[in-house]
């Protein structure tokens, strides 16, 4: 399968990449590992005139501890994250998420964490060959006016299937976006729009530089469901974070529950999360209750467009959240 034609440019440093994005804006696309971008280009879903490769930007590949933060360069490979003891210890949900991304050969060596959170939303009606799509009217995301996933929807409901994004949101991460001359830091919670066509608040001249995870002394966990354990994207997932109180080790002081692969973005479930505050780490029935609240709240956003049935995926929200909470509680108490 061939790629459409484009001009390939390989800036030698970060500044050079920013300059190129400043000049070419919408005509250019950034290439990290290419395991999301090149697939979409082959399917004719986008045809950038210029590809700006991050290949030479080794300075964007690092995992380091800086005070009470973990900083990860955008171009760090999924394999490097899996191999990091720091991530395993302080941000276990991210380790567990990365371990499950695709399969070793493609995603782990080639795929990057930056590309993982910036991969486009997906939908079984949209992520198809040009030939398949030519047989019917284009949908919203394809430049048309209908949605095949939800009847009479006036907008696109494509799903964010990034494993990394769900785990990072549970960990309370933020990201640094840079454009020529300025830099901004944004919480992942606020990074997502509710628009399936352009799922994140990012300008075409911006580059993702870094992902920052606060070390809060809690424990995190990530669980996902996919058809096969390798190659396939998640059809539902959950990332959770639990922190014990300083005064009473067996009491939950802070909780964050995030559900992925169900809506246009990973969703932070505020009600289910706050329900757990003050509960005990060995209170299994509280975890069950929080998991059920998560399911109820997340189900309203769910759309039938990444395979399996909606009923099954919604039911499994509860199961994924429950398993993740149990695991985070067990490691907290160890």
């Amino acid at each position: 399968m061939r790629l459409p034609r484009f001009e390939y440019i390989e800036p030698i440093n970060f500044e050079g990449a920013l300059d190129l994005l400043y000049i070419h804006k919408d005509n250019a696309k950034v290439l990290a590992g290419g395991t999301d971008l090149l697939v979409r280009m082959k399917k004719g879903l986008l045809k950038p005139k210029i590809i700006i490769s991050l290949k030479a930007l080794k300075e964007l590949s690092y995992i380091k501890k800086d005070d009470s933060y973990i900083k990860i360069g955008a171009r760090t490979s999924i394999a490097d994250i899996i191999a990091s003891d720091l991530i395993k210890k302080e941000a276990c949900a991210l380790f567990e998420a990365c371990e499950k991304i695709g399969a070793v050969t493609i995603q782990h060596y080639r795929g990057t964490i930056g590309g993982n959170i910036l991969q486009d939303n997906r939908c079984i009606h949209y992520n198809q060959s040009a030939f398949h799509r030519s047989g019917r009217q284009p949908c919203h995301k394809d430049g048309g006016k209908i949605c095949y996933a939800r009847d009479a929807s006036d907008r696109c409901n494509s799903t964010c299937q990034s494993d990394g994004a769900t785990a990072l949101m549970a960990l309370g991460a933020n990201i640094t976006l840079v454009r020529k001359g300025t830099e901004r830091i944004i919480d992942l919670d606020n990074f997502y729009t509710t628009d399936g066509i352009m799922p994140f608040a990012m300008e075409s001249n911006e580059l993702l530089k870094e992902i920052v995870i606060p070390i809060q002394g809690g424990k995190s966990s990530y669980k996902r469901l996919a058809y096969r354990s390798a190659i396939d994207y998640p059809i539902v997932s959950a990332g959770v974070f639990l922190k014990s109180s300083d005064t009473s080790k067996n009491e939950i002081e802070d909780a964050r529950i995030v559900v992925g692969a169900i809506a246009r973005a990973p969703i932070f479930l505020a009600k289910a999360s706050s329900f757990l505050k003050g509960k005990k780490f060995n209170d299994i029935s509280a975890f069950k209750k929080a998991a059920d609240i998560s399911m109820d709240n997340a189900s309203t956003f769910a759309v039938h467009n990444v395979g399996s049935t909606l009923e099954y995926r919604c039911a499994m929200v509860s199961e994924m959240v429950f398993q993740a909470l149990k695991e985070a509680a067990i490691v907290t108490q160890e």
């Binding site: 061939r2 697939v39 590809i51 290949k55 070793v104 050969t105 060596y109 080639r110 354990s229």
Partner: protein, 159 residues
């Protein structure tokens, strides 16, 4: 646009003029005639196109040819010795029924080689993990895993 790139292919220094939009699988198969590397899905889903770049197994269908500049590339064509003797992994696949139609075999063998070069004593789980990105529609995988396991017992396999 076309650019002249240099890289090492199966031990030989190569210099080739590549178009910006060519993938590595396109360069190998359509331009250089090295059709041992297969292209199944073209989208990273099947692993038929697996080659080794700088010791890591990668999918050549999602690798831009221009990005192999300065790198060391190994394909299935480079495995047999100059006298024509098959590489121990290839022999093992033949002997243990790891090949039926053969379409997945080059990819399976390259993924196995990348693993065994790094970890000659890889256990069953490690082998399964390393081959998880390679799909086979014939064998049911059991014979493939057995073939890779059997290489360990053949001794002195890495060359």
């Amino acid at each position: 646009m076309a650019t002249n790139i240099s890289f090492i292919l199966n031990g030989d220094e190569i210099s080739y003029e590549v178009k910006d939009h060519w993938t590595l699988s396109h360069l190998l198969r359509e331009e250089m005639g090295l059709i041992g590397t297969k292209e199944g899905c073209g989208n990273g889903e099947c692993g038929a196109c697996t080659v080794i770049v700088d010791k890591l197994a990668v999918n050549s269908c999602l690798y831009l040819a221009i990005e192999v500049e300065g790198k060391i590339v190994e394909t299935i064509e480079g495995l047999a010795s100059t006298s024509g003797a098959l590489h121990p992994i290839q022999q093992s696949f033949v002997k243990n029924g790891g090949i039926q139609c053969g379409f997945c075999s080059p990819g399976m063998i390259m993924s196995s080689k990348a693993l065994l070069d790094k970890n000659p004593d890889a256990n069953h789980e490690e082998i399964k993990h390393a081959l998880a990105g390679n799909i086979c529609r014939c064998t049911g995988y059991v014979q493939i895993l057995e073939s890779v396991e059997a290489v360990k017992n053949m001794g002195g396999q890495n060359e």
